[in-house]
Symmetry: C2
């Protein structure tokens, strides 16, 4: 069903990103008691063209009424379904340093159905301690615990030097989706999806841009 809706493999990464933004805008509109929203208004809120919004939302088939716009709640639910966020995902956080620890306390994750169920570290001083309501588990027990708790996504916030070693264990435990914060290229099998995110590297990119008066596409 979802495959049919998304036209599988045809949605670009930037479209998915915009769906995430529309989802947020629609959630807000719902709170403001809007029943319908015109593509023009949604476009204005997201600093996009109305044509772009209509094109993105055409993935959902014929939808919205000329003159009336899109029904807010229904559109929100349809986008949630496409994004797979109409359910709860069980997440494990590996590494409880500055970044890992901040992410654990980031309430937005929980609100959006990304439920951090397990947290791991290799530091004996942290293992067994309570961290925002979760007990830090020993990373040695990770493969077993990931399976036992039916974890579907892993967030990796460990030092670069151990990241490949740890991701190999994560993959061996059957995890197919990983968000990596370590500043290193990691290797995963073809059927595992890995996203990399690193704040220092983002700042280095900005540094490059302003040092070289380089004009990339915004």
């Amino acid at each position: 069903m979802a495959n049919k809706d998304t036209g599988k493999k045809k949605i670009s990464e930037s479209t998915i990103r915009r769906l995430s933004l529309y989802y947020r805008a629609l959630s807000l509109l719902e709170k403001e008691n809007y029943e319908t929203i015109a593509s023009k208004e949604l476009a204005k809120r997201e600093k996009l063209t109305p044509a772009q919004v209509r094109k993105d939302l055409s993935f959902f088939g014929s939808f919205g009424t000329r003159g009336l716009g899109y029904p807010v709640t229904e559109l929100k639910h349809r986008i949630a379904k496409i994004l797979g966020i109409d359910r709860i995902w069980n997440i494990a956080m590996v590494g409880v340093g500055n970044i890992g620890s901040a992410l654990v306390s980031y309430k937005e994750f929980q609100r959006q159905g990304f439920s951090i169920k397990l947290i791991f570290d290799n530091d004996q001083r942290k293992i067994g301690s309570n961290h925002k309501g979760l007990i830090v588990s020993d990373i040695k027990d990770m493969p077993r615990l990931l399976r036992e708790h039916n974890i579907q996504m892993v967030v990796l916030a460990v030092p670069a030097i151990v990241a490949q070693y740890i991701i190999d264990d994560v993959v061996a435990a059957g995890i197919k989706a990983i968000l990596n914060f370590a500043p290193i290229n990691l290797q995963v099998p073809d059927d595992v999806y890995l996203r990399n995110e690193n704040m220092s590297m983002e700042l280095e990119y900005l540094s490059f841009v302003i040092s070289n008066h380089y004009k990339p596409k915004n």
Copy 2:
């Protein structure tokens, strides 16, 4: 000089990203007392092909000796220069919630020359308080303080609903490079460079991928 080195506008975003990774690898190699490194070995460490590494490093002109490889320290310095990280950047953090607060305490930034000089919030309970050695300033004083402290980059970690309003002030203060964590599309003039980063949206992307058995390029 740097413009000449980088061949301006010819370096792709993925090349810049790899330069950041090489820089990290070379810093590590330096600590391990390596004097030279072969493209093959650097490639292996970064899970890339030797041809890719040689191509990336060819931006630096003729460099490295066949059989001996690249001189580690010199290559590291050249990459630092290209990335603009052979200097200190003055950064301001706007918003001291979970994410902003974690970033302030993230020591890697400071080590890499990204020096957080100012932090701002609009919460009266936070203003004036000490946060990891920095006093939280009132966001109302931001335009003046950004100029007075010669801030060159701003990290925005504020709620989506106020983000455009705040970024307008940041831009008016003459800032040309902004890293935004709010999950919203923001508008900036053409001469300002904006990077967006949002962990929830990354998780939503993973959710989309595994919900739809979608196979994007890794």
